[in-house]
Symmetry: C2
Subunit: 124 residues, 2 copies
């Protein structure tokens, strides 16, 4: 276990949090799980811009960081559910403020998903 | 200019904000600029884990996103200073909460910088 001296590296705390929610998808997944337990397919439907492979990868990373708990039910076909861990829940205010800031700057939106609507000034 | 329908894609707001501060360094740079205008060399000293090339690249990206303002003074040698734009300033509460969460989870710190101290339980 490695430790840091925060006194000399205050930026490290910012870096640590961003490490956990980086690559944009993780934060979005955490946001959707704030609504409660979700099956893989449900998450997928809520995030049209992500591939199945990427969603799997990001969920695995979140599980490894103990932010998300994966539960497999022994059914046929097997049911797999994801929910926030206690630490994942503690990120709720962080995710909330990311969302609030983004909503306040709608003009900057850049989400790479297929449901793009051209604004009137550029419409054909 | 592309626009989004937030009603159908609430996660997009989270994604947008993370897009702007992603890759962990941008958030750290914004954090350091919250203290006021900084020269390139000052920023570099505050972030021992980043290379000169990466810092240049990230500052350029922040400038393109209008979060950071770069000012060159016609001196010899030229003086280059960076400060937060108005939009960059508006991210202050976001950066603050990223920092607060990281500080509250010191055990998870993973900053890749040289000043690592081994915890007593693993010390030789």
């Amino acid at each position: 276990m490695k430790r840091r001296d925060f006194g000399h590296r205050p930026g490290c705390a910012v870096e640590t949090t961003l490490d956990l929610i980086d690559g944009k998808w993780k934060g979005v997944i955490l946001y959707h799980l704030q609504g409660g337990t979700q099956r893989f397919g449900e998450l997928r439907r809520r995030m049209p811009g992500i591939t199945q492979r990427m969603l799997t990868k990001q969920l695995r990373a979140l599980e490894e960081d103990n932010l998300v708990v994966r539960k497999v039910y022994a059914e046929v076909p097997p049911r797999v559910e994801y929910r926030l861990s206690e630490i994942g829940e503690s990120l709720r205010p962080v995710i909330d403020i990311l969302k609030a800031w983004g909503e306040g700057h709608q003009g900057r939106l850049s989400c790479a998903v297929p449901d793009v609507v051209e604004a009137p000034d550029r419409a054909a």
